[in-house]
């Protein structure tokens, strides 16, 4: 019993010590970024000479709702304009700090081992290609990647044929993972995601005319600390642009 009490006391003491771990001075810079930015933004931050910001990746919808509910983000990079408009309408964006940072493309993917082939064209046999499998994509109700995908499939006239055969994921990376694992025979993700995952193969790219332009707007949130401006400037700078291009984004 005494040993048990000693171990418990030691555990509590260690936890207390952890809370006293020195944090870098000054308010922490927090960047909320769309899930598809993960690899590229991680690399940009790794090469950033200043204090490294904390990065939080999720679907733009989830991030916007969190910021709306008071999350202490300094910078928000959304995967579509609508979610940035949403925050701007609520007065959460610092005036004059919003700019379009990057562009991306939508692609149709299959697991790397799959021999399937399918061309993107109006009335394409998508339902037949799926068979009894499901199309993996980010949730088309609110995640930008899913919304773009739905817009493209509606324009191609095939949305109705597959709207009940979807595997709607929480964010575009989760959809990518479903295809990479072979759980879904087909998926729609960003080109940058497909390039980052060796276990998927790109079948075709969606013509940009089929969906609203894929634009990643960036803005400072109200009450962002001073270092946020420097970091935002860095994201627009040449070093960061080079990294984004390497991952397949189109700096704007």
């Amino acid at each position: 019993m005494k040993t048990l009490l000693r171990i418990a006391a030691l555990g509590i003491a260690l936890s207390l010590c952890a809370t006293a771990y020195p944090q870098p001075g000054g308010p922490r810079l927090v960047v909320f970024a769309a899930a598809s930015l993960k690899d590229a933004l991680d690399e940009v931050v790794a090469g950033y000479p200043g204090a490294k910001p904390a990065l939080s990746y999720a679907a733009s919808s989830a991030l916007a709702r969190q910021i709306d509910a008071g999350a202490p983000a300094s910078i928000f990079i959304s995967a579509d304009l609508e979610w940035m408009d949403y925050l701007e309408a609520r007065g959460l964006v610092q005036a004059g700090t919003r700019r379009n940072l990057l562009g991306n493309s939508l692609v149709l993917i299959v697991p790397a081992a799959s021999a399937a082939s399918l061309a993107i064209a109006p009335g394409m046999p998508l339902a037949q290609a799926l068979g009894d499998g499901r199309l993996a994509l980010a949730d088309p109700r609110y995640v930008p990647a899913g919304k773009y995908a739905r817009a493209a499939l509606e324009k191609l006239g095939v949305w109705g044929s597959i709207s009940t055969k979807l595997a709607a994921a929480e964010n575009v990376r989760a959809a990518l993972a479903f295809v990479a694992r072979g759980e879904a025979p087909l998926g729609i993700v960003y080109e940058t995601d497909a390039r980052a995952e060796a276990k998927v193969r790109i079948l075709a790219r969606f013509d940009p005319a089929l969906h609203p332009p894929v634009v990643y707007p960036m803005a400072l949130m109200q009450a962002a600390p001073a270092p946020a401006r420097e970091f935002a400037a860095h994201l627009s700078g040449d070093r960061a642009r080079h990294v984004f291009e390497k991952h397949g984004f189109r700096p704007l």
Partner: protein, 233 residues
């Protein structure tokens, strides 16, 4: 009071919770009996493993399920080819996730119930010639029954609230895997979905309260039955 879409979500949640409760029953009962009545090397490890879903992040459980029971998973592929069981993106997968998450609660409650059965009663029955199965059926089970039902209800209530493992394993498919918690989450992501999300939240609270109150009443009956009038008050 509830529109057709909400009714569909409710019906799916109840279906998944019901089947996950039934599915966990044999395993939970067997584990509970083993932990209550037998000593063996590795017993503590087994006990700890059973409690893992209580402390592991649900997303981890969901991910492990994906690796093992996905269409190309270690067990999933075999189950699909030989038994035709598919868990990926189907309500069966949601039920499996819920079963695993509810198992520790069920095992704990059932184990406590079996622990409370006086082993001397079992010994007496054994000296009168009862084999182990007859012993379990006629002595242990009836006395432990309220506690066992309590365990099942806890598993049911836990299944109603299962989110992380479900969304990671089978994603969110309306009519197939979109249970109440997943539907609420989806609604909170859509601007203007707050009102509907709140309605579903109230529904979730009522359902869970109902299940928990029922399980609490069962527990009281169990204590009363085993200890008689002496424990009342």
């Amino acid at each position: 009071m509830l529109d057709p879409q909400e009714l569909e979500i409710l019906a799916l949640s109840l279906k998944v919770a019901f089947w996950s409760m039934l599915g966990s029953l044999p395993l939970a009962l067997a584990l509970a009996w083993l932990l209550a009545r037998r000593e063996f090397p590795g017993k503590t490890l087994l006990d700890a493993c059973v409690h893992l879903p209580l402390v592991l992040p649900p997303v981890v459980i969901g991910y492990l399920l994906l690796i093992v029971f996905g269409r190309h998973g270690a067990l999933g592929a075999w189950l699909e080819t030989h038994l035709g069981w598919v868990f990926a993106f189907r309500w069966t997968g949601a039920a499996l996730a819920a079963t695993i998450m509810g198992l520790p609660l069920a095992v704990r409650a059932m184990r406590q119930a079996i622990d409370a059965v006086d082993p001397r009663l079992e010994a007496a029955a054994s000296t009168l010639g009862a084999g182990p199965m007859a012993l379990f059926a006629s002595v242990t089970l009836p006395l432990a029954l309220p506690g066992i039902l309590n365990g099942m209800l806890l598993a049911f209530a836990r299944s109603l609230g299962e989110f992380g493992a479900t969304i990671t394993f089978v994603s969110s498919i309306p009519g197939e895997t979109q249970t109440l918690p997943l539907a609420i989450y989806a609604l909170t992501q859509v601007p203007g979905g707050d009102e509907r999300a709140l309605r579903l939240c109230v529904l979730a609270v009522l359902l869970s309260l109902g299940a928990l109150i029922a399980s609490e009443l069962l527990l009281r009956r169990a204590r009363h039955a085993i200890h008689g009038e002496a424990s009342s008050g």
